[in-house]
Symmetry: C2
Subunit: 347 residues, 2 copies
């Protein structure tokens, strides 16, 4: 039986996911007996399509990569023009909805409404969207649990680096005392350039932009809001913390100067933008800010745009997981990881 | 329903596992609805006991920690004196056997026979024993699969650091191009002391012994055979390689001198004992040997007795997992991790 998947938001991540499916189709069939059928795509820019017979994945990748719209994939797309996304989700004929729209950390919308509609109409959900998770994780996971549906989100933190899929079985039974990490690649890249090349902040940011690390509006990265959303997600999922991002004031790297970095370096320290959540008794605190780390700290050595998390655990001491924090294929693969976990549990 | 567990080999790891169960009993009940009943212990030194009603875990920990035997836990132990371990396994009244006897890398015995008997009599198996995995993984996993039983072994590599439990869901769908790692804490500690304190090999080994890192006979560590067994296990489990340890000649660290380390350091390199497995087309190669790593390699920075693995993956690039490589509680926790995964899948 093919798993019927609807994709909501088919930008960079959605196209990365399609490419993973296409590249790995034979391998996934051989190793897991897995076959995907994409029965719907809903995207406000690229158009909507419901295709019960399954659409041509390779053709879709090609059309969208060239900036084309869904009606260039299939002429029947025209009849779904203007149909609200939630209605596409409801009638998608899908077992699973991949919610891959852009993140809005203020409202969590429209992704939260998409996820709710998918769960209410009996569909498993995979998302990479930080908004619904940072703002509404408890309600959404409770809704999924009640409906006996899967709700997975590996790609929301560290792209395809398997943070949640590691924690699910691999941290079962331990108590997490603290999670600390580098969760924003753009700022880690900027701090690295400032230290290694003696650039000032503006110069390093401009380099990050040229390499595609920094967005046109880099403020969510630079001011620590992106890292905050991720640590709140980790806190709420792995420590059941019930934190709200709005209650925490992150510090960014805008105030870190070349001179501060040089002076820290002379003392054997390195500035990193650190996100943390910590349990002390019944109290859970979280935050984001630049920290001077000793060079012996595993997080001090995370270079370039890479991400890492150190878990401090009662039965295991500390473990550190390092990997890519972003990327089209890397985040697309996160979606595939979750889809395969759902497929495994369905069998 | 309580999960009924028989423990075969109740030395350091078995006692560590019991301690994890005891420390976490309330938490595991609350979080997972998990309760364990230890219905049997079989140990050639400490004695045998079958206790259908479940034995007193705290008392067992206390007696064994003081060097006592099973008859000091329960007088009924006397009647199992001299009963073969495989017969204890067969009649243990257990849902799951934890095979925790010492490793024999030449024969894989007696652990392999224990595991076979457990699977043949319908019991799930958790082990930390490298012997059966390095020598007979394919046959044992096939037997478990046919009998629809779980066969898990998180503690065989990197103690409780969740290598296999991460890979199970977290690396699903990717192809592993290469795994490289530091899989022996003793030799990593020795190389570190030689570099940092300018000790020669014998002095550093003596320090490792004092700290309890090195065994009385450290040859399996120093000559690379321990790391080889672990990389063969990773290769056979994660790459379906079908390798045999006897076919690979590991190089150890005995020939690395203080002068070589100092000279490498001047050039910006650091010696590490690296185990690797690599896929090139249909060909899979594996080995163990000292390597001069650039300081920018994440593995160059793994300090002390810690372990780490870098996975090179087609859809994700590289990820590195660092954590403890040994330890009583850390390895006992590996057993708990696997037991909880089995419990979750039973539900």
């Amino acid at each position: 039986m093919k798993l019927r998947i609807g994709i909501v938001g088919c930008g960079t991540v959605g196209q990365g996911f399609l490419e993973c499916l296409d590249r790995k189709a034979d391998d996934l069939r051989a190793r897991y007996g897995f076959e995907a059928k994409i029965t719907a795509i809903a995207d406000p820019v690229r158009g909507n399509l419901i295709a019960p017979q399954g659409l041509d994945i390779r053709k879709t990748i090609k059309v969208l990569a060239q900036g084309g719209k869904m009606h260039a994939v299939d002429t029947r797309a025209a009849k779904y023009d203007g149909v609200p996304t939630v209605d596409i989700i409801e009638t998608a004929g899908a077992d699973l909805i991949a919610e891959l729209t852009p993140t809005d950390l203020k409202t969590g919308e429209p992704a939260t409404s998409h996820i709710v509609r998918a769960l209410m109409t009996g569909k498993h959900v995979v998302t990479t969207n930080k908004g619904p998770l940072a703002l509404h994780y408890r309600e959404l996971s409770e809704l999924a649990r009640k409906r006996k549906l899967a709700f997975r989100f590996e790609g929301a933190v560290m792209s395809g680096t398997p943070v949640f899929n590691m924690a699910e079985a691999g941290l079962a039974g331990v108590s997490i005392k603290e999670i600390r990490g580098i969760l924003n690649g753009t700022t880690n890249y900027i701090l690295g350039r400032m230290e290694e090349e003696g650039l000032d902040f503006a110069e390093a940011l401009s380099q990050a932009r040229k390499l595609g690390y920094a967005e046109t509006d880099p403020s969510a990265d630079v001011e620590g809001r992106d890292a905050l959303a991720k640590i709140v997600i980790l806190a709420n999922v792995l420590l059941d913390a019930g934190l709200k991002p709005a209650a925490i004031n992150p510090a960014g790297i805008g105030s870190i100067t070349r001179a501060m970095i040089a002076s820290a370096r002379e003392d054997g320290f390195r500035y990193k933008l650190i996100a943390y959540v910590r349990r002390e008794g019944a109290r859970i605190t979280a935050g984001v800010g630049p920290r001077k780390l000793s060079l012996s700290d595993p997080l001090a050595r995370i270079a370039g745009a890479r991400n890492a998390l150190t878990f401090d655990l009662d039965l295991l001491g500390s473990i550190t997981l390092e990997g890519p924090g972003a990327g089209r294929i890397e985040t697309g693969y996160a979606v595939l990881q979750d889809v395969l976990a759902i497929h495994r549990d369905l069998k």
